[in-house]
């Protein structure tokens, strides 16, 4: 017994040290490195890189304007979809969920691709149907592409809130003769206000940080994110890029603080049976909601049909015909990059979930103080823009003893730690279901701390781990910002190949690659949903 306990104690300590080390080295250090790059020159504090704020303040203004518009529109559409599903049958909900899922498993800039095909100078809708020749590039291009991309996550977030809505509140209001419009304005919307605020803020940060859509569709409309990207890619000026990333980071951290504040305000409404819902009278506001929601859904359907059509058709003398030629032509682009992408994403998915599990075990279940600090630090990749995190990796790991730049390892590490915040959230969410008494019983029966991790916590967070894996896999498959500076040109990942194809106007090939990415992610997502649901049925 003594030897066993000693071995386990040693392993316990090793786990703690390992987790502490990786979080400090791969999350905190790169973060600090960006500040170092921007603020230190020749060993002294130096603010000259921030002078761009004087001459190029329009960059900040552009970023804020486009982020505000995107955040407003994507929240408005998401709210409409959320409220529509609130009144919909479970079958209709499933269909809408599938459509939302479609946009969530796509690379972030995919909207730009179809936007140009549909609304561009030679766009199918603007040129061929409406006979217009308008310039699609600029502010409204960015806003519409980002709105299309961000609305789904917001809608899913709001639907989660509405799912937990106490239905007796609505029934009470109805029995007091409240009409549908009043119920929505007086009861439903005020109660989900925290969720509305959260989705607005989330979209705001995401829009600020997104450089890919403005690069493709922004035209002359430059933002902080695109300028930071170009500073590295075109000018090789990393201090300038760092300074811009720090400026981008400021609103993000503010928004994150507000976000945490609103998250704490969450209504813990009881889940009541929904037998009696869906019979609200269809008046006034209800129709406005339906119009907005259907407009968005139609938009998604048109965009995605366009991608699928573009992948399988070509034009000859003005006639469109069905072909596999695009697919054959895309094979050279697909071959290596996709295998690499899938492999990296699987590794990132597994490791970020495992590290998340061990970290959460020590911080959330065992409540060790310094582990809670590490837990907080590991949330940073969630707050900072992707490019910020990518730059940090370049600055942190370009010299001995951690000279990793140019290797595949740095990309994998970046993917792992970029996903850690979401993994921790998902895992801790499923840990809330483990009762203190269960843990104490195990301890009482003589289980070592690591036995508890293996025999109690691991099996009981199984669904959380699974979900965390599939989320991390999908994000890694579709991410671009954090890895774009890290990937060696000969070792590209699928999203980067896709980004290049879209940037250079090869829309047909880009469509094929998009379709493949979407199919892979969609299958993983649906498969995990199936497995998780089956697991749940077995329990009940």
């Amino acid at each position: 017994m003594g030897v066993r306990k000693k071995t386990l104690d040693f392993l316990d300590l090793a786990f703690k040290l390992l987790v502490a080390m990786v979080v400090l080295v791969f999350v905190l250090y790169p973060f600090v490195a960006v500040f170092g790059k921007a603020l230190y020159r020749n060993g002294r504090l130096n603010f000259s890189e921030f002078l761009f704020l004087k001459g190029e303040l329009f960059l900040v203004k552009n970023s804020i304007v486009s982020a505000t518009l995107t955040a407003f529109l994507s929240t408005l559409f998401a709210l409409s979809i959320g409220l529509m599903t609130f009144f919909a049958s479970s079958r209709q909900r499933k269909i809408i969920m599938f459509i939302l899922l479609l946009t969530m498993v796509s690379p972030p800039f995919i909207g730009s691709l179809t936007y140009i095909e549909l609304f561009g100078r030679n766009g199918l809708i603007t040129k061929q149907i409406l006979k217009l020749s308008i310039n699609p590039y600029g502010l409204w291009g960015i806003v519409s592409v980002q709105t299309l991309g961000f609305t789904s996550l917001n809608a899913v977030l709001l639907m989660g809130y509405l799912d937990a809505f106490d239905n007796t509140m609505i029934e009470s209001a109805r029995s007091l003769k409240a009409n549908t419009t009043s119920i929505l304005l007086d009861i439903v919307i005020p109660i989900i206000r925290p969720a509305i605020a959260v989705s607005f803020l989330l979209s705001f940060i995401r829009s600020m940080a997104d450089f890919s859509s403005p690069m493709i569709i922004g035209g002359a409309y430059n933002t902080l994110a695109t300028e930071a990207y170009l500073s590295i890619i075109a000018k090789g000026n990393s201090p300038r890029a760092s300074a811009m990333s720090i400026i981008l980071f400021i609103p993000s951290i503010l928004v994150f603080l507000v976000y945490t504040y609103f998250s704490k305000q969450e209504q813990r409404a009881s889940k009541s049976s929904r037998d009696t819902k869906g019979e609200l009278k269809k008046t006034g506001l209800y129709y406005a909601i339906m119009v907005l929601a259907f407009f968005f859904i139609l938009w998604v359907i048109i965009q995605y049909s366009a991608i699928f059509l573009a992948a399988f058709t070509d034009k000859y003398k003005g006639d469109t015909y069905f072909t596999f030629e695009n697919i054959i032509n895309s094979i050279p682009y697909l071959k290596d990059s996709f295998i690499r992408s899938i492999l990296y994403s699987i590794i990132a998915g597994i490791l970020s979930s495992l590290i998340g599990l061990i970290l959460s075990y020590y911080s959330y279940i065992k409540n060790i103080k310094y582990m809670r600090v590490l837990d907080f630090i590991s949330n940073m990749p969630y707050i900072v823009p992707g490019t910020f995190f990518g730059l940090g990796y370049i600055f942190a790991f370009n010299k001995w003893p951690l000279e990793l730049t140019g290797t595949g390892l740095i990309v994998i590490l970046n993917l792992i730690f970029r996903q850690i915040p979401m993994s921790i959230r998902t895992i801790q969410n499923s840990m809330t279901q483990i009762e203190k008494a269960t843990l104490n019983s195990a301890k009482d029966l003589g289980a070592h701390s690591l036995d508890i991790l293996k025999d109690v916590v691991f099996p009981m967070t199984y669904s959380g781990l699974f979900l965390s894996f599939s989320n991390a896999f999908i994000s890694s498959m579709t991410t671009i910002g954090s890895i774009i500076f890290l990937v060696y040109p000969s070792k590209k990942l699928a999203t980067l190949v896709l980004f290049d194809l879209v940037s250079s106007g090869k829309y047909k090939l880009a469509s094929v690659l998009s379709v493949v990415i979407i199919i892979i992610c969609l299958s993983v997502s649906l498969l995990s949903y199936r497995i998780l649901n089956r697991g749940r049925e077995n329990v009940s």
Binding site: D166, T168, M169, S172, S175, L176, A178, A269, S270
Partner: protein, 308 residues
């Protein structure tokens, strides 16, 4: 007849949860639907409130058929088991919410709301958040919110289930008082016979979607019309088509039938005995101001058997 339910039927996925139910209520009556969980009692309440569509039958309030009307068109208010209070509004805002749809001016509404707070002994609570209130206070806010619109009929779903024993007793008294103040008819559902016995004028006993018996508490207890009614309400000894309540077995000093005390349990105000008589066990209650019997002793009893 104030409220009349005629042949009400409700199915969920082909499963009939309410089967051909009919009953009626007089004005100012307090009626309780009593039954085990899953007997269909809440479904009836939801059907009257207008929150579910019914599959057959009629609901007549004050001579008018209302089963086709929406919930908001019926002059009925409901107090839900979980109260359904609006957590983002204050106590007063909750209470006066319904007046908004009756074209009452905001100032008058506030005055009326304050009067309601007084009636419910909630004076000074108006500006508090409902989430800061105790269960009993939330219950009264929910009542006030329903009563302020002067409904013809008040429906209450398990009104006492979230309250502790002491609060239960005071809320029962509160409901009786409210009936006097507002002249209101009430229909409530519960699975707790004590709630039903304490305040209901008549009890509708339900089982598996059907009505077993409609009676006063007294007749339900003394003259149960079915084995279900007998078993569901109170304790009883059932033998060969006859029943005897445990408190109806009397120990006599002489004469009577011979029995033996097998076991006893102290229950506070009374003792519970298990006695053996003619090779069967019987449950017997004796108040604790009577002499305590010893286990194993021989006693003589009289029992008033009744036919089920």
């Amino acid at each position: 007849m104030f409220l009349e339910i005629k042949n009400l039927t409700k199915k969920y996925n082909y499963l009939e949860v309410v089967k051909d139910i009919s009953f009626s209520i007089e004005e100012k009556e307090i009626i309780c639907i009593l039954g085990p969980s899953g007997c269909g009692k809440t479904t009836i309440l939801q059907a009257i409130g207008g929150f579910i569509d019914i599959d057959g039958g009629g609901i007549i309030l004050n001579g008018k058929n209302i089963e086709k009307l929406d919930a908001e068109e019926r002059n009925i208010a409901t107090v839900f088991q979980s109260y359904g209070l609006f957590p983002h509004k204050t106590v007063l805002e909750n209470i006066i919410y319904g007046l908004k749809f009756r074209k009452v001016k905001k100032r008058e509404a506030v005055l009326e709301g304050k009067r309601m707070l007084d009636i419910l002994n909630l004076r000074g609570y108006g500006d508090k958040r409902v989430t800061a209130l105790s269960g009993g206070e939330q219950q009264r806010v929910a009542l006030g919110r329903a009563l302020i619109v002067k409904p013809k009929l008040l429906l209450l779903d398990e009104p006492f289930s979230n309250l502790d024993t002491k609060l239960r007793i005071s809320m029962r008294e509160e409901l009786l008082r409210i009936r006097e103040v507002f002249n209101i008819t009430m229909l409530f559902v519960t699975h707790d016979q004590e709630d039903a016995f304490s305040i209901a004028d008549r009890i509708i006993l339900m089982n598996k979607g059907r009505i077993e018996q409609i009676d006063s508490a007294r007749s339900l207890y003394f003259n149960p019309k079915s084995e279900f009614a007998l078993k569901f309400i109170g304790s009883s000894n059932i033998k060969d088509g006859y029943f005897v309540r445990p408190e109806s077995i009397k120990v006599t000093s002489h004469g009577g039938k011979e029995a033996r005390v097998m076991d006893k349990t102290f229950k506070g105000s009374f003792m519970e005995y298990i006695i053996k008589y003619q090779n069967s066990s019987y449950l017997m209650y004796r108040l604790n101001n009577e002499e305590e019997l010893q286990i194993g002793s021989k006693i003589y009893i009289e029992m008033g058997k009744k036919k089920i």
